[in-house]
Amino acid sequence: MAVLDKSSPPRPAAARVAGRPAVRIGPFSVVWRPRTVLVLGIGLAVLVLAMALNIGRGDFPISVGEVLSVLAGGGDAGQRFIVMDLRLPRSLTGLLVGAALAVAGAITQSIARNPLASPDMIGFTAGASAAAVAVIVLGGGAVEFLGAAGLPVAALVGGLLSAFAIYGLAWRRGVHGFRLVLVGIGVNVTLTAVVHWLLVVAGITEAARAYVWLNGSLNGRGWDHVVPVAIALAVLVPAALLLAHVLGGLQFGDDTARGLGIPVDRSRTALLVVAVGLASVATASAGPIAFVALVAPQISQRLVGSARPPIAVSLVVGAALTVVADLIARTAFGATELPVGIVTAVLGAPYLLFLIARYGREARG
């Protein structure tokens, strides 16, 4: 590095850079950002509390202490059944799905440099909806034949297919962010029309079932829903965190990013694969819980005060948001259980409006 050898720096070489204190252990080094750590800690605390409440509350209330004792292997048979077979897997599905959606949203928003570019907005999950509704409406015997796994598998395949179709159609000597969004809109509109058509030709019972699925629901989710999302997160979240350090460069636009030595097309493809994987698996498990992928990364970015949605914080915030929403959806309206997606929207929309009001300056231009 010529500049270090030949120049005569005005300050000693060990000069510190304001606003970027370091944590260095051996070959490892990161910028110490206390606000991020604080937000992460509070987010985790909220998440744990929400999980405990969500498992405890319901028609058959179980105190937090009892929940803990069941988890530790105690409790009576009834409590064990309710916690271990009903409420814990349901809450865990919510937690994992929320986390997956939020990470997927953080990635797509960073790549497209657009706060509205969540996976569902780009049409990455429209295929999942079309496939799931098709199975519900047309399936009949096929659903029973495939068993409980049929619906999520169809949704997963549909979601991945639509995502690859969008990516393939947007490819023309590299994938340009803007073209990707446009193609996504086109595909999204087409598949949404298919869903509408299916809803019209369906019998009313199937239409109602499809509608519940379309709103994103955690009703009746068990361990067979937890496992696939958990596996996907275990593989894809580390990948996202590893790839995250190129996101900062990608945000500058292609020329600057290439100048910094980022293989732009390869990085973007890898990141999109991760985002699509997360969003598809999450949607397959719980239906399209729309607002989480849009709002969780934006909330996280504001809380941390960073220039792009932070991956790890988004994960925790997305999980907490979904579990809290599920708690409300299950318990706030007496006997009626709303789909969780309705509650996330009702919670998330005012927050987005609050952001607009508060950060008017950001919206200029």
Binding site: P115, L116, L169, A170, R172, H176, F178, R179, V181, L182, V183, I185, G186, V187, N188, V189, T190, L191, T192, A193, V194, H196, W197, L199, V200, I204, A207, A208, Y211, V212, N215, A290, F291, L294, T336, L338, P339, G341, I342, V343, A345, V346, G348, A349, P350, L352, L353, L355, I356, A357, Y359, G360, R361, A363, R364, G365
Partner: protein, 349 residues
């Protein structure tokens, strides 16, 4: 690069002779196609009516079966399609101009979701089940939603800007959609009625529907078209528009009023119809260039043509049944839009 150019405002260039010729030719072609679509819309259907029959019914009706079909079913349906298509095309061009965003669609202002919530409420709480009954609920909902979006999008320090409007639109739409869903999920009968409204169709619309929305539509058309010169200035950016002596706020308020009237009445008459407002201005812009004095009327004509053509297609593809126009538009328009994105450099706004 072309894609980067999309968001950059482009000044209306001086009009060379070739561009003027292209515009006039395009306009003439458009009018011709529209006339053909109107005739097809009257002639084609479950009962095909030959052109002599159409002529007979239009000019010299004698009460034959064909005359009745034409005058009481086909013509009102065609008029609704014509008006709604024109309204949506124009509203799309207006909102893309006002937000300087080529991806904007009248739905951005929450109009579809507002209309949907009010229609569902009408069905659930007031037992409304007729198409004519839906119109007022839908129109009121569209109005409430777009006013809410505009007010919320204006509270930030910068006033109503394209980005705040888009964000407010997304937030309000999501909220309204969630409320709509809650009603539908509580009551299966509401879902049953709502799902047929939600696909967007002009089937079964009669003169009563036209009568309810026509004045709002005409007012919207007028306000929208009159704003063309101001929109040309706004395309150069708020600051340039101001320095040219335009009141940016007033222009934008009138623009939003026009969009609401147009898209609101179209949605009231037909249910939510996606895509006309998004894709029509794109295609039209390729012919007319970015001058709104041409773009706005041409978008209205092209919107009407597209909607009628899609409706006619919907009547023939799944005979003896019908495919709703909203579904046809999305099924055909979606792939077409993708093809357009791939094939050409998207034209600048």
């Amino acid at each position: 690069m072309a894609e980067h150019g999309v968001l950059t405002p482009v000044a209306p260039p001086p009009v060379p002779g070739s561009l003027r010729r292209r515009r006039l030719l395009g306009l003439a072609l458009l009018v011709a196609v529209l006339v053909v679509c109107c005739l097809a819309s009257i002639a084609v259907g479950a009962k095909a009516i030959p052109l002599e029959g159409v002529w007979h019914a239009l000019v010299n009706p004698t009460g034959t079966e064909d005359d009745i079909v034409v005058r009481s079913l086909r013509i009102p349906r065609t008029v609704v399609g014509l008006l709604a298509g024109a309204a949506l095309g124009l509203a799309g061009a207006l909102i893309q101009g006002h937000t300087r965003n080529p991806l904007a669609d009248p739905g951005l202002l929450g109009i579809n979701n507002g209309a949907a919530l009010f229609v569902v409420t009408g069905i659930y709480a007031f037992g409304v089940t007729t198409l004519v009954g839906y119109v007022w609920f839908a129109f009121a909902g569209a109005l409430v939603a777009s006013v809410a979006v505009f007010v919320l999008g204006s509270v930030g320090r910068g006033g109503p800007t394209p980005v705040t409007l888009a964000l407010a639109g997304a937030a309000v739409s999501a909220l309204l959609a969630a409320l709509t869903s809650s009603v539908i999920l509580i009551d299966v009968q509401s879902l049953d009625a709502y799902r047929f409204w939600a696909v967007g169709s002009i089937a079964g619309r009669d003169t009563a529907v036209v009568g309810q929305v026509q004045w709002f539509l005409l007012a919207g058309l007028l306000i929208g078209l009159v704003g063309a010169p101001a929109l040309n200035a706004l395309a150069l950016g708020d600051d340039v528009a101001r320095s040219l002596g335009h009141s940016v706020l007033r222009t934008r308020v009138f623009g939003i009023v026009a969009i609401t009237l147009l898209a609101g009445s179209a949605t009231a008459a037909c249910g939510p119809i996606a895509f006309v407002g998004l894709v029509v201005p794109h295609v039209v812009r390729a012919v007319t260039g970015p001058d709104y004095r041409w773009l706005l009327p041409a978008s209205a004509l092209a919107g009407a043509t597209l909607l009628l053509a899609a409706d006619v297609i919907g009547r023939v593809v799944v005979r003896p049944g019908e495919l709703q126009v909203g579904i046809v538009l999305a099924l055909v328009g979606g792939p077409f839009f993708v093809w357009l994105v791939r094939r050409r450099k998207m034209v600048a706004v």
